[in-house]
Amino acid sequence: MSFLTHEIGSLAKPPWLVKSSAGAPLGESELEHARSWGERLGVEDYEQLVETLEQGQNGGLDPAELGRWASRYALRLLERAGLEIVYDGEQRRTEMYNWAVAHSNGFEPRGTVRSFDNKYYAKSAVTAEPSLGEPYHNEEFTFLQSVANHDLKIPVTGAYTIAVWSYDEYYGPRSGRLGAGHGRSEELAARREFALDVARNVIRPNLESLIELGAKWIQIDEPGASTEADELDIFVESFNASVEGLECYFSTHLCFSDYDLFFPAIEQMHGCKQFCVGFANDDSRELGRSGADRPGYEVISKFRDLPYEPSLGLGVLDIHTNFIESPELVRDRILYAVEVFGDPARIHVCPDCGLRTRSWEVAYEKLQNMVEGAQLAEQALAGSTAGAAR
């Protein structure tokens, strides 16, 4: 057997793209990045990009062309690292939330808010009933279909996360809240209406459009899913409203949450074939395959017991640090999960989340080790099977 390996979504944007997008002149370090990574990853015709960038003024490349180059590089990085399922590290999206609301109607920007430390995101307010401006992943997907050597999985920001990451200036009461001790029921009703409107009016038409173009696997990203412990049913309803009746392999990405909160609500997510979930962030860095050795993975038996038997995308890379997980550490995390699940076929291997906060060097090394760790786990299982057969 072999473990399917895949990425989650974002990768850092290469410095030549960041600077070019900002209209800043490129220095030797940015050019060297394009040159060295192009060579290292075997990006076709990368010399052409480097020569063009060397001319200054982006060599006359328009932003869309630059974006396509970045997509090519990121795609090759993931493929060269050995992942079976890939995308382009969301090179052409501003950011997972901002890209979605910027291409939808009914939202207005409200400035920059801290995510953690020196990381931030642009936050918008919903000011009218949301609707889709135009399908906003079609162009990138069509391009990637034309250049990818491995299978693609398209990350799409989910309805609940869009709702819970937005300020509400439309659905809830705008005055009369002070000292009124508004019950949660009023807030919950507003959030449900908001999330379901996003699911039906924004996400679902996007998914339909991608499926029409040939999408086989779509990952609904819901990092905000457990933001409110008493809104898990809204998350589930919005997922179901987004995908019900559509023919595609749908998965959900969850991260950095108290995963116990998801149960039993997600028992109703019958359309979800895989949950890819970040665990390494809370795990020990020591080797070991027992429950005591793997505290970050304590909750995985609950995913195992879901009635519709989804696969588990096992997060084995902590994306918040430059610590490079060894292949042996990845192996032990996988083998522990196999032990809990009893069925290796239900285990996929992935990072905890997108790697956009890490440098390409760190991300590449982590991913290579992840793939090697998956292979070590396969060998270990093959060895134990052979041993048992004897």
């Binding site: 410095p15 960041v18 409200r110 400035g111 920059t112 808010v113 801290r114 995510s115 953690f116 430390d117 020196n118 990381k119 931030y120 995101y121 936050k123 307010a125 819970v164 990451w165 300020y167 509400d168 200036e169 705008r174 005055s175 809240r177 002070l178 000292g179 009124a180 001790g181 508004h182 905000g224 457990s226 933001t227 409110e228 950095f256 949450s257 962030n281 809370d282 918040h320």
Partner: protein, 301 residues
């Protein structure tokens, strides 16, 4: 009536960019520190001009409510990235490596910069800092927070408490811890982003502090005990909403607190850290807080 701005203030777009550049190796720590100083000077000047009663520095260097204390303590360290309540902002949860952690030295000046006037300081409450560490709030108070308070030049220390109102913890658990902190500055215990009713019913108002803080977007007016004998930090600006408050509504609510609940000492504050909105929105919210105070004072006159 007072207006105060405790908690972590959002960074300006210029400071956001500077810190992003720092992470990407495009600028120096010195350049970021200069921008922090500019942001802070502007925030302080704004508070002076708007009539805030104590000055706050905005905690612009604090990566979260706990980090500077964790980094300055033996036996405590920053743990995994953890979601802050129901926001999309994360913090490093405290992790104890010793049963008896202690502050190794005073907080660096970058975390408590000098200000040109009487000031307030915000620190985590002992219950909040002890969360998930296995160490009691009393030990945290005695070994970590008290050394931080000793010699602190502040008129008021606001102990931010985001967790108590959302947990099974009872205010009594904090009583002994707060007594250990009676070493100088007056203390306020602010329950941020929560319905304070259960805590009030269990004796929040009797805790040994000068002031208590309540979020009035989640707490009903009538839950405030009549004739509260403490300064009330009334959280009347919603730090998690982009909607701007109407100063008239704020002033009207302040009057209701004074008249219906017989609150004699009142300070209008945000209901938690303003860092959950962008800097320009936070500034406008503070402006409206100040206008509400002016309106209330004028109406009383």
């Amino acid at each position: 009536m007072q207006v105060l701005a405790p908690g972590i203030h959002p960074r300006s777009e210029a400071l956001v960019q500077a810190t992003r550049d720092l992470d990407r190796g495009r600028t120096s720590q010195e350049a970021v520190d200069e921008q922090v100083a500019l942001d802070r000077d502007e925030l302080v000047a704004f508070q002076q001009q708007a009539g805030f009663d104590l000055l706050a520095d905005g905690m612009l260097q604090w990566q979260d409510l706990f980090r500077p204390l964790l980094e300055a303590s033996d036996g405590l360290e920053p743990g995994p990235l953890t979601r802050f309540l129901d926001t999309n902002t994360f913090y490093r949860a405290a992790h104890a490596t010793s049963a008896l952690p202690r502050l190794a030295g005073p907080l660096a000046e970058r975390y408590l910069p000098p200000l040109p006037g009487a000031r307030l300081v915000t620190l985590p409450s002992p219950f909040a800092l002890a969360q998930g560490t296995g160490v009691t709030p009393k030990v945290i108070a005695e070994q970590v927070l008290r050394p931080a308070l000793e010699g602190l030049d502040a008129e008021l220390v606001v102990l931010a408490e985001p967790f108590l109102g959302r947990s099974d913890g009872a205010p009594q658990e904090l009583g002994e811890a707060l007594e250990a902190l009676a070493v100088g500055p007056k203390l306020a215990l602010q329950l941020t982003f929560c319905d304070a009713r259960p805590a009030l019913e269990q004796g929040l108002a009797e805790l040994p502090v000068e002031a208590i803080g309540i979020d009035f977007y989640l707490t009903h007016l009538t839950d405030v005990p009549k004739g509260l004998g403490k300064l009330l930090l009334a959280g009347v600006v919603d730090a998690r909403s982009s909607t701007l408050e109407d100063p008239g509504e704020l002033a009207g609510f302040a009057r209701r607190l004074q008249e219906e609940r017989e609150v004699e000492r009142l300070a209008l504050v945000p209901n938690g850290d303003l860092q959950f909105v962008a800097e320009r929105i936070a500034r406008e919210k503070l402006q409206r807080l100040a206008k509400a105070k002016t309106a209330t004072v004028q109406a009383a006159a």
